[in-house]
Structure formats: C-alpha cells, structure tokens
Amino acid sequence: MYDTGDMGTAARPLHALNRVAFGPRPGDAARVRQMGVERYLEQQLDAASIAEPAALSERIAGLRTLHMTPAELFQEFQEPIRAAAKGDVAAKQAARRQARQVIGEATEARIVRALYGPRQLQEVMTAFWFNHFNVFAGKGLCAIWTGAFEEEAIRPHTLGRFRDLLGATAMHPAMLFYLDNWQNTAPGAPGKHGKFDGINENYAREVMELHTLGVNGGYTQTDVIALAHILTGWGLAKGGAGNGQQPPRGMGLREGSAGAALAGNLWRRPGGFHPWWRRQMQAGGGGARRPGGPRGPMGPYGFYFDPSRHDFGGQTLLGHQLAGGGIEQGERALDLLARSPATANHLSYQLAQYFVADDPPKALVSRLAARYQASDGNLRDVLATLFSSPEFWDPHCYGVKFKTPYEYAISAARAVGADVINVRPLTGTMAQMGMPLYGCPTPDGYKNTAAAWLNPEAMMMRLSFATALGAGRLPLERVPDAAAGPMAGVKHPERVRQMDFNGAAAAPDAAQLALTLADAFSPRTADAVEAAPVQLRTPLILGSPEFMMR
C-alpha cells in the first residue's frame, strides 16, 4: 500500500516515528521495523484498533475535571468566583486557585497521552487540529473550557471528517467565547439586550481566514459581514446542559433567556440539521459521557441557538444564495466552507507542511486537495494519501523539519523513557521557549516551521534542557508541589551548571538512547559524543542536530 520510495530501509521506521508519532520511545524503532512500516501506518490510521494500556487509561480517568461538560465546569468553578465577588477577596482568590486545577488537568492529559499513548497519530493530530482551531486558555472562561474543547470538539474528530471538526468547534462554548460569537446579534433583533446588540465580525472572519478557506481563499469583507449575520444567535446556553426541556439556569452569562421558550421546538424540528449534529442529538442527552456525545437538547456541551437574536434574512455568501432561516442557514454556510476547493487547498498545504516540509511540494498539496474533495473532507483518507506519497518518503525530506518546542520536549522525554509523574518541567520548558501549551493568545495558533522557532536563544534553551534532562536532573519523577507556581520545574537547577561531569554515567543511559534513536547519527555527532565525558553523552545526543530535527 505504501510506496516507501528509495528512503533507506533503516531510515524508514525512524522517519515514520518522527513524523507520525512524537518520536521513538525505547524499543519503538525495532518494533516498527519488525512489524513493517506499512502495517504500523495502517494501524495508526485506525486508532480505535490500538489498545490503550490500562495504566494510561487509569491515569486519564483520574483527571476528574477532564470528564466534565462546560456547564458542569461553569457551575463548579465559575459560580464560586462570581459568588465570592460580592465581598470576600480571599474567597475569590481561593476559588480562582480551584479553577486553575482545570487547565492543569487538561495539560496533564495532553502531555501523558503524547508521552505514553500508543495511538500516536491521534495525539499528533489532536495537537495539530487544536492548534488549527486554537483557543486561548488565558481569555476569560476559556480557562475552564479549553480542556473540554479539546476533549469534545477536537479529539473525537481528528481522523474523521473535517466538516465534523468544523461544526463541533463552531458550536463549542470555548470557541464561541474566544472569538466573541456568543454576543453576535442581529441589529434590531427582538432578543437584543445590553451588549448583545449588533454584529460582531470576529469569528466570521477567522473561520474563513484561518479555519477553512485561508487568507487568499477568495472571500471579501462583504462575505465576512454576510457570514456574521448568518451566525447571529449562535451562542451559549444560559445554563448549559439540563433536563432537555428548559435551558437550565446558572451559566450566568446574561444570555439565552429570550429564546428559551422557542428553543425546544426548534431543536425538534426534523431536517435542516447537519447529519453529524442529528447523530449527536439522537444519541440521547444527559447520559454517561461519551467522546463527542451530546450534552442535551440545547446542543452538545452548552451550545445554544437563540432565534430571538438571529437574523432570519437570506444572505449571499461567496456568491451562493443562502435562503433565510434559523440555525440550518449556518449549517449550510459551514457545509459551503468545508466543501470549498480553497479549504481543500488550505488544509492540504498545512498538512503537507506539518508532515513533509516547511515549503511543501506543490504537487503533493494538489493531490491531497483532490483527495479531500473526492472524499468529501475525509481526513483519514487525506492522511493515507499523504503517507503513501513519494514526497513523504523522499530521502531529501528526511529529518528536514525543525522540531517545535512542544515536539522537542515531548520527543526528548519519550526517547529517554522518562517516567513522568510531574509534567511541569516539560510544560515550563515549552513556555520558556515561547510555546506555552494552551497559551497562544491569537487564533492562528503556533507555526511549525524553522523560521518561527530556530534562533540563537532557542538553541541555548534547548541545550540547557537537554543537559538537565540528560543528566537526570529534571524533577520529572517527583510528585509536583501543588503550591508551586506554573513555572516551578523550569529553572534548570544551579547544580547542573556546577556539575564537573567527571563521574560515571548515570541514567538515562547514552548507549540505550542511541539504540532507541536507531543509531542514526552523522560522523560529527558520533565523534563529539565519543569525545565527551560519559556523563555528557546523553545530553549531547539530546542536543544533537539530528535530535533537533524530525
């Protein structure tokens, strides 16, 4: 199935692990070689076929807030802040500290899955699509909803249809809040009130510029305004998920009230909904948590369409007439965006840039775009085409991607087989290098090119991290101190700088590390490692040019 071209047999397993996974863990390269790269890729594309180790499942299950809906999160973590606001400053601060636990658990889930999850492609694509649909945990309620956004809107759809990703993100409270659409209101609408009294272009612009068509995708300011009108009333349930009859109270966002009476009927109206949406609704509300599952008839996870703030007029979008209507008008607009050739091109370029090269081969981008169109946006099909392309296996494309800080830190901890109980030294390092997890304030997300990340100071920080990790001096295995700040674990211990490196080698072992990395080093690296004191050999391998690249 996969044309692995003329890339050397020895290089192929490592190449696959570097691109399709976050680099090899001990034993991975040998295992992939033995099972065959083709079989490995097939398996990765069928994530559900890969069993998750019990230890990982248990660790994820133990992250309580990761399994809560936006409405539940709001009730438990936002309400106390509001309640305390009336007076007690100390109580308010305590409530804020409590709320920080939510992003902490989301962070832990992301990192340990990336480190230990056997469904590596899914982890890679979760990071990729989260970044594509970036929300910023530093903006208001996104502090408690960003993890839920990844769990509910991103992760379940990473190897599915793009239209599902687009719809799930468009309706997720985190995105509605982040790009302000929850306040987007038809001018003069009966439900207008306070600051819900007019068009807001923010989401309408970014969904075309960043999520779908791309900045040169052929839309105009007129299209931005038309789409903003179409998406009026797409907002937040006043109380998130409830018993399905009334929008439950308590979300407290000064929202959702006016249209509540109409809502029940609207949601039951047959037809007009995107099939994914219908499936979510039919799957039943309020039950046990399922990935991508519904949260109640208000819509999944606390989305609420307020007809009293919606513009029911017809609109022209990208030259297409969209008849007036309710939420289904927005669904048709998203259909239109997801099926546009500009979207196919934009997404294909980004995938090829991530998986192949900073300046991706044009012919490959075209073939991926064609596959996207032919499969109606099936992301698994597009990836299968990518992984079987001669460009992916071109030996000139081997090791040409400069790792992002996220990829560098994760791949290093994987390569040394670290037993990570405390993720902070890893997340702190990412933040210090300019790539805090869930901390990109702008909707374009982080870039993954060398131009963005390769700079003098980055090299200094990477090599310092490599030294601390390679000398076994990062507190990864220590239970984190709950009272310590988020940057605790980052400060490379003074004692690493003062080590004399005359001692015997300690864990992590350099020979084992070299084996894990398939012994694929240039003569220069091999010589430098050979010449170094034994205690510095692991740091040198982790800091080598080969390990900076994937």
Partner: protein, 431 residues
C-alpha cells in the same frame, strides 16, 4: 546538485541532516558571501571593540499586536462624528477622566498620562491616519506586511529591521539588534544575526550551558556554518556579551532580588541594557491584547487597562535610557486601526488607518502629524474606517534616514517600492 525536499530553492533550516551533506553548507556559505555577508567566527565577534562606529544612534520599535484602537488612543475630540459613532466607548472630551488635550483637536487617552511630560517637553509626537496601504483586515497578513516592510508582497523573506542591520556601517555583531522574548519576530528575521533575550527571570539567570565543560562539548557539535551551528554560535556570543551586563544590572537594579515578570520589568531591563551597551543599535518588543471586539470600554475598561502599563512602561523605558534617550527614536506601531463605529458588543472590528507613536530626543514633538480628513462617512475608507493618508514607511524612513543616517539607496533596499513621501510628517525627526 542533489535534489531537495519540496520545490523551493531555499531551505528554511539548511540543517546538517543526513543526505544533504557538506556540499549544502558550502553552497550556503558561498551564497552568503556572494551577498556581501562575511561569515566570521564567534570569537571574532566577541573581540569586536564596542563602539567601532562612533554613532550611538538607536531605533526601538514596539509592536502592539492585535490592532489597537487608535481612535481611543489619540482621540479626535474635535470631531462630532466620533461621539456619534461611539455612543458607549468614546473617551469624553475633557474634564475628570476625559481625554487630555493635545492640540485642541486631538486628546490623549487619560491612561497615557504618564507620557504627557514627554509631550510637553517636545519629545513625543503622533502620526494619525497612518498605516499600511494594503487593504487586508487579517491581523496576520497585516502584521506580516508591516514587518516585511513590503505591503502586498508575501514573498519577501526577511524583515525590514534585519535589512537595517545590513545597511548600518561598521562591523556587525550578534548583539547589534536585540529582541525581547523567546522567538525572533518576522521584523528582525533574515540573514543578519539578531540576539533575543528571554522574558522574566530567565533573562539574567545562569543556565547549564554556561558551564565550560558543557559548552566545550556542544562547541564540537555546532562548529560549522549550517543554520543550527550559526544559531548556536550567535547564541553563545550574545550570551557572553549580554549576560554579564544583565547580571551586573540585576545586582545593581534589583539588589539581587529575583527579577519579576511583566512588560514593564522586561522593557526596563532592555532599556538599561541599551544604556550600557553602545553596540546595541536596534531593539524590538511586542505586546498583545489589543483585539477589542467586545467590551472595549471608554476611559475605563479593557483598552484603558492595557494602555496604562504600556504608557507607564514607555515612560519608565525612557527614564532608564538616561542620556541615551537623546539618541534614541522609539516607534510604537500596530497592524491596522479599528472601525470608527462601535459594534453591537461595545467593541470595534478590524479597520484600516491607525496612529503611530514617535518618541525620543531626536523627535520634533508636541504635535500630531496627519492629513486628517475627518470622520464623516464620505471621508472614511470603505465608509467605515479611518483612511491611511500617511504610509507607515514614511515616518520610519525618516527615522532611518535623518536619525540613523542611512542614505537613499539604503532606504530603497529596506523599503523597496515605497511611495514618495506625502510630506505629512515633514520635520518629524531632527538630525
């Protein structure tokens, strides 16, 4: 010559990966030499005598990413349309909490009161209705164009400040341009070496790499001319040059207390570094959080809350520069302005023309430079935004020409295709 990955001639990284081999490095080095850039070893840089070039003139650029609402920064208080279009977010005309009068027509957001001493002594000016001629309302394209210095041209690979380094006379060292933050921004990207200093406490703390044994080991790995080696070598030299200054500064300024984070602290540190090290000619910092689509607020609220630390931070920056302020031009820019009318959510959407802030000893200040056509709908860009009547490259070009002493051919290399000056900012910068 071996085929490369992809179709582009240029590789962004040029890294020493297997299969590429030595020929690539030789080719890259040859290309650089052909471009007139001499590759010299790190120790040559370190040995460079500071102040080779007698000029101590500096340029500092602060980028407000996210498109600040210039109409609520330098407020057209004399324009009735302003108050009509902004029923809830306009800054009042005067009085307590109102705009601080500048020239009768414009007033300053009261959050920027900390800058008034500079206005009053003639070292602060504003250029209104200024910006990029490109019509994009994408933050990312607009920032890209303002940083490449070539609006509408995406193919430009380097940033205009990097081209400025190349144009400056004398030997070039890796700390001639300094950027605040862990990554090098587009505006400084390019073939010339640039130092970046981390934010917060990481800036002046020793790291493992400062151990000579560790350094020696990595020196062997990164001793060539590929992109990774060059970044490594520049990083070592920049660290050697800047760390001692930073650590001395930390001892003096903070009495040994760990430095805290925050824009003001970081920029103060940068200012002291510039004041100490005459080799630093260019500096850059960026600040986000200006994309006020909802609840922008008037003289209280989100925008004002963001402006106050910037205004106070700039005033402090100027103080920390000390006598170097007399030889420094500080430009505060943003990718575009915001709609004249307020939207339905107490915010503003993406617009066009904006205000540029120009500060420093060589500035002929106490004046708002602009061709100001008013805010009547007929005068607006696409009937909604402040038009751009002054190209952003015009005041910058003046700073580079009049202040930094670059000649016309150099300016044409830095801003290829820039239009002829409108004259709106004549006399803004003193020689």
């Amino acid at each position: 010559m071996a085929k490369r990955c992809g179709e582009s001639e240029e590789r962004a990284d040029g890294g020493p990966v297997r299969g590429l081999g030595r020929r690539e490095f030789i080719r890259a080095a040859a290309a650089l030499t052909a471009a007139g850039i001499t590759l010299i070893g790190p120790h040559a840089w370190a040995a460079r005598a500071l102040g080779d070039d007698p000029s101590r003139k500096r340029l500092v650029v602060v980028f407000m990413r996210g498109a600040v609402d210039g109409l609520n920064v330098v407020v057209p208080t004399g324009d009735g349309q302003y108050y009509e279009q902004r029923p809830t977010i306009a800054i009042p005309r005067g009085g307590d909490g109102g705009a601080i009068n500048l020239d009768g027509h414009f007033g300053l957001n009261p959050a920027l009161a900390g800058l008034m001493p500079y206005w009053n002594d003639g070292t602060l000016a504003f250029v209104h209705a200024c910006g990029s001629p490109d019509p994009t309302r994408s933050h990312f394209d607009a920032q890209d164009f303002m940083e490449s210095g070539t609006p509408g041209v995406k193919a430009t690979r380097d940033g205009w400040m990097n081209r400025v380094i190349a144009a400056l006379p004398g030997a070039h060292g890796p700390t001639e341009a300094v950027s605040l933050g862990p990554t090098v921004p587009r505006i400084l990207s390019g073939p010339m070496a640039v130092a970046n200093i981390p934010l917060g406490r990481a800036a002046d703390h020793p790291m493992p790499l400062d151990n000579p044994k560790i350094e020696d080991a990595f020196d062997r790995l990164y001793d060539r001319r590929d992109a990774l080696s060059r970044a490594y070598q520049e990083g070592r030299v920049a660290r050697r040059q800047l760390l001692s200054e930073l650590m001395a500064d930390m001892r003096e300024a903070d009495n040994g207390a760990p430095s805290s984070a925050g824009f003001g602290n970081d920029t103060d540190r940068l200012a002291r570094l510039i004041a100490r090290d005459p080799g630093i000619r260019l500096a850059f910092a960026a600040l986000g959080g200006w994309d006020t689509h909802v609840s922008e607020g008037s003289n209280r609220g989100q925008l004002t809350n963001h402006l106050k630390p910037l205004g106070d931070g700039l005033a402090s920056f100027a103080r920390q520069l000390g006598p170097a302020f007399d030889d420094t031009v500080i430009l505060v820019i943003s990718e575009f302005g915001r709609t004249v009318h307020e939207n339905g959510n107490g915010g503003t959407d993406h617009g066009h023309g904006n205000v540029m802030w120009v500060m420093g000893g060589p500035v002929r200040g106490r004046r708002v430079y602009a061709r100001w056509d008013g805010l009547d709908p007929g005068s607006l860009y696409q009937e909604r935004d402040v038009p751009v009547t002054t190209d952003f490259r015009e005041p910058i070009g003046q700073a580079l020409g009049v202040h930094m002493g670059l000649d016309a051919p150099a300016l044409r290399r830095i801003f290829p295709g820039a239009p002829a000056a409108s004259g709106n900012t004549s006399g803004l910068i003193k020689a």
